[in-house]
Amino acid sequence: MIQIARHILLIALAVFSGCVNSDSGDSNEVPTSEGFDFVGMMASYADGVLLPSYERLESTIEVLSEPTGAIANYCGSISTADEGVMLDAARIAWQEAMSSWQEAEAYLVGPVMDNGGSIRNSIYSFFSGSPLSTCAIDQAVMLAQNPSFDLTNRSFNQRGLDALEYLLFNEDLTHTCPAQIVETQTWNIQPAEQRKLLRCEYAFDLAEDVVLSADGLGVAWQSSGGNFRTEFINPENLADNFQQLSDALFYIELSTKDAKLGVPTGIKDGCSQLTCPEASESRFSDTALENIRSNLIGFRELLTGGAGLGFDDIIIAEGFPEVNNNFHTNIEAAITLIDSMDMSLLDQLAIIEGSGSDASCLNSAANPETVQMIPVCSLHGFLKRITDSLRTEFIVIVNVDLPDGAAGDND
């Protein structure tokens, strides 16, 4: 009886109930990654990519700046049998710190870009718009002997990892200033050991200064400091921060492909000669390729969000996994190519110069898999494939704008 009543009720309800048009159709679908956890993605970038990167940077720089660290050890070994070993150790430590930075520099979002990028420039000033001033560093080495000397008042182009590079890698102990510069007039007449020691001691001071900047970067993100982490994740700021993250991906184009490779190899406008080795990065250590490798690793982390949610997950959610595959294929090809190079960037630029023609370079860049006569030019070719995907498929799928300065690409 109850069953019959129940069925009558159900039938009656079915007959009486109004019904709505719940056909989803196609034309009105909102073209966004519906349900995608953007907040989780931003948290993943903060906690899984950016903050660990800054922590690595801090720890690798601390190796240089500690009282018993690599630079201090080197300073203490000058004029001893261990001097060469300790210098090599200091250079290796610098290289590790530089690699950390080159990876972190792919994440140009938040406090690192505040105040015109002051934190960034105080750590590394290559892109500050003001080229490294070796003369100013030479002057500072002399001035630093005065107890009232304040390093923080010095310009960015005489501080940071690039200034450290000059002090640790430049074998020429002669100062680079014009003769009329008062501070360095007595430099060249000082004993070589004394000059090494003064440079080393100033390098130590510089390392401490860089640690402070790296510290400041971390603190700016922490809840006990500037709490930018919360600001970064806050969905109210999602549009801005998401665009900033997306803009940061274009470091691989504007800074790596164009500035670090395109201009030195002459592929990119900005070099009026066959090659422009003076525009290359890390000339004293001749480690430009290692920097590019770190940039690529940083780019990959920024694309994928590391182990967490990232742009690549949006691309998959939107149904374009092949775009991710292309990115990964070209990133791997570029890194593998760098790992296979037995000549530095400067060496390869010399080969181009020696050939008297850019044909080999341009051919290598156009056919990076098949033609690798000039490997750095082939590397440029792989990078271009990455950046072409960025500025076409990526911005459409992820629905972001091109960053300022990337509107055109006249490669």
Binding site: L9, G18, D23, V30, S224, T230, N234
Partner: protein, 731 residues
């Protein structure tokens, strides 16, 4: 043009009435009918059964059955009602009808004795005040085309709370109830008639310490006081005019330590009654006063004219947790505590505020003063033309309401698990404005009876002038609109016991002044159709409904992050449909016992007809076909009792299916819906004699603790098992 016509109508109509000499004569009112017809909107229980549309009449016996103080408990007796529970005591109910948004009952028309009673139904429709239902004689729910008489909000329907009338002889009652969490309710009622005049004094006080446990200790309860005095005058019937004058004044206040802040799902699972210390300062304080004058005039021609004048004032201060100054949405923090460990620690008092961004607790005093006043004149005339009986009703109402908002923010540091004022008393106000509305409403209705047919045709016209003065922006915006809202319904008494009815009407919910200069009111076309079966012991009603919204509005409230309170969002076309079923059956045993059974069931489906991206957090990303949030597919209430002249035992089972908390379709996402729940209540009454009645109630017998909502901010529970015992002495 329409506004001009209306103004002329008011002048002429009022002047005509005033010219009448009021004689000391009356035909003699029906003294057995102590609930005035003029304050009913359905015509009472009998009227509901003959209506050409859906309506529910909840009488005093049902109100007293479990001695309800929570209106939402009573409204569950009506199909087509959607409740989003919040504080567990129904202090500020969220009631929706037929899919109209439940948010603070802002899409329904709420009346007391047929008079608009929410603080400012046009200017700020969120109902922060509703009359205490415990002092009511009846509750009426009107849906479908019948609702167009009761604007301004007619997309879903209307609710009328009918107060205790002046009795025909001296009567009184004293009630007291006591329960869990120091629940106490006291009521005193005295009424008498002296000659042609009468009075009622109705005193009510109730409150509880609350079932929430504040971290570190503190109050989470409430107290309400309600005083109402009604005066009634029915002169002797010596002339051919019949007069009835009723004047009522009322005062109600409330102090409640209520908050918008709920819990994370994780904390809810462990301690559903926990309240974070960051809500420690939260307190709602309100005062409501009202004066209602109802004058009924029966003319020799049979025309009945009813004039209602009313003035309502409502002031409230709600000092409450409102987030983290400069921090992320607390709703998000509660949803993702893993991502926001510092912020959740601040709310819980487990992390101290540091001098960093977003670590100050925002405690904002939302101070508002509301007012509404108006004059409502309606007339009824019965006319017979051949075989057709016409009952003509016409009415005109002028209404003015306003709200003054002054939302003042203060910052508190969380130090050692306590809130410490940061000393800045001069923070920028969050909201500082005045919104006001002048509205004329006119309706005309003809109920035509012919043999077994009843046809109801009516039209409502609303002409609204709105103004918003924003003192922060130093702007003044205004808009006006006039809408014509027709409706028609038919009832066919197919068999003596079976009637069939159908109707269609245009629903309307006006935009608030905060909508700005672009008027964007909510409109819908509503259909309903049903059948009604009635015999001595059985009443069955089965109704289908379909509402086609051409412009559904979402209104941002203070609890919605990411939008400005009062800001309105359009969802375009939305369809809501469903079925309502109600059954009432009484089986009488020969022994004098009887078994009453009642079943109410509502099935609802809804679908957005367009896809869009909305800044209104409840909608978010909407795709075509997505279902509306907070619209459960199934709601049911089953009640069975056993009673005789002295005893009654009642068991009530309430079921609500899952509710989405944001628009969507398909599988429900964890954390984005409230689970279904079933609650059992038991009640028993014992009439010791004609004067003394004892009552015992157990609410939520199974102590089911489920999340009923994650709004306003965070998970909120069903109340725990609650006990109440009480008595009533009538004299």
């Amino acid at each position: 043009m329409i506004r001009l016509f209306m103004k002329q109508f008011v002048v002429v109509f009022t002047a005509g009435i005033l010219q009448l000499q009021i004689p000391a004569y009356a035909q003699g009112a029906d003294e057995t009918d102590d609930v005035l017809d003029v304050v009913l909107v359905t015509g009472g229980r009998e009227g509901v059964r003959k209506l050409a549309g859906a309506a529910t009449y909840i009488d005093e016996a049902e109100i007293q059955e479990l001695d309800d103080t929570d209106l939402t408990d009573l409204l569950a007796r009506s199909p087509g009602i959607y409740i989003r529970h919040e504080d567990g005591y129904g202090l500020r109910p969220n009631i929706g009808i037929r899919g109209a948004a439940a948010e603070r009952s802002q899409k329904i028309t709420v009346m007391e004795d047929g008079i608009l009673i929410t603080p400012a139904p046009y200017s700020a429709p969120a109902a922060y005040y509703l009359p205490n239902v415990n002092r009511m004689r009846a509750v009426e729910v009107v849906k479908g085309p019948s609702a167009i008489r009761f604007g301004p909000h007619s997309v879903g329907g209307a609710i009328n709370l009918v107060s205790i009338p002046v009795p025909t002889k001296r009567t009184g009652a004293i009630e007291a109830s006591f329960g869990t969490d120091n629940y106490q309710k006291y009521r005193g009622l005295l009424g008498d008639r002296i000659g042609n005049a009468g009075y009622t004094i109705d005193l009510l006080r109730y409150g509880a310490d609350g079932f929430k446990e504040l971290d570190g200790g503190g109050n989470t309860g409430f107290t309400r006081n309600d005083v109402n005095v009604s005066l009634d005058w029915r002169p002797e019937s010596n002339w051919s005019l019949e007069h009835h004058l009723q004047f009522k004044i009322g005062y109600a206040d409330e102090i409640s330590d209520e908050t918008y802040l709920g819990l994370t799902d994780g904390d809810f699972a462990i301690t559903p009654d926990r309240r974070y210390v960051s809500s420690k300062l939260d307190r709602f304080a309100s005062e409501h006063s009202q004066a209602h004058l109802i004058y009924s005039l029966g003319l020799p021609s049979g025309i009945q004219v009813v004039t209602k004048g009313y003035v309502n004032r409502f002031n409230r201060d709600w000092n409450k947790f409102d987030g983290l100054i400069g921090g992320p949405s607390v709703k998000l923090v509660l949803a993702r505590p893993d991502i926001f460990p510092t912020e959740i620690g601040l709310l819980q008092g487990e992390v101290d505020s540091l001098d960093a961004g977003g670590q100050l607790i925002d405690v904002t005093n939302n101070s508002r003063q509301y007012g509404s006043e108006g004059l409502d004149i309606s007339a009824q005339y019965d006319l017979v033309l051949g075989s057709f009986k016409h009952r003509l009703n016409a009415g005109l109402r002028y209404h003015h309401d306003y709200v003054d908002r002054d939302h003042h923010q203060r910052g508190y540091e969380m130090i050692g698990g306590d809130l410490v004022f940061d000393g800045d008393s001069n923070r920028q106000k969050k909201v500082f404005n005045n919104a006001s509305t002048d509205a004329f409403a006119f309706f005309l209705n003809d109920e035509i009876t012919f043999e077994r047919w009843t046809l109801n045709a009516g039209v409502r016209v609303e002409s609204i002038d709105r103004k918003l003065e924003d003192f922060l922006e130093d702007t003044l915006t205004s808009n006006d609109e006039t809408v014509v809202l027709p409706g028609i319904s038919a009832h066919w008494q197919w068999r003596d016991k079976v009637g069939i009815f159908a109707g269609i009407h245009k629903g309307f919910s006006p935009a608030a002044p905060a909508a700005g200069s672009v008027v964007n009111s909510e409109e819908s076309t509503n259909f309903e159709y049903g059948l009604r079966y009635e015999n001595t012991n059985t009443h069955i009603e089965l109704i289908g409904f379909f509402s086609d919204y051409s412009n559904l509005i979402g209104r941002c409230r203070v609890s919605d992050f990411g939008c400005v309170p009062g800001e309105e969002f359009s969802a375009g076309d939305v369809q809501i449909a469903g079925a309502e079923f109600s059954l009432n059956y009484i089986h009488d045993f020969a022994s004098g016992w009887s078994l009453p059974v009642a079943l109410v069931y509502t099935y609802t489906e809804s679908a957005f007809q367009t896809g869009f991206q909305s800044g209104f957090p409840q909608w978010g990303t909407v795709n075509t076909g997505d279902e509306l949030p907070y619209t459960p597919e199934n709601i049911a209430r089953f009640q069975a009792g056993l009673e005789n002249d002295s005893f009654s035992l009642t068991a009530t089972v309430k079921f609500v299916s899952e509710m989405r908390e944001v628009a969507g379709r398909g599988d429900l996402e964890v954390g984005m819906f409230t689970p279904s729940y079933t609650i059992l209540d038991l009640g028993g009454k014992w009439a010791l004699n004609e004067s003394w009645n004892l009552l015992a109630v157990i609410e939520n017998v199974g102590d089911q603790r489920e999340i009923v909502s994650r709004r306003p901010i965070g998970a909120r529970p069903t109340p725990p098992r609650l006990y109440r015992v009480g008595f009533r002495y009538d004299f």
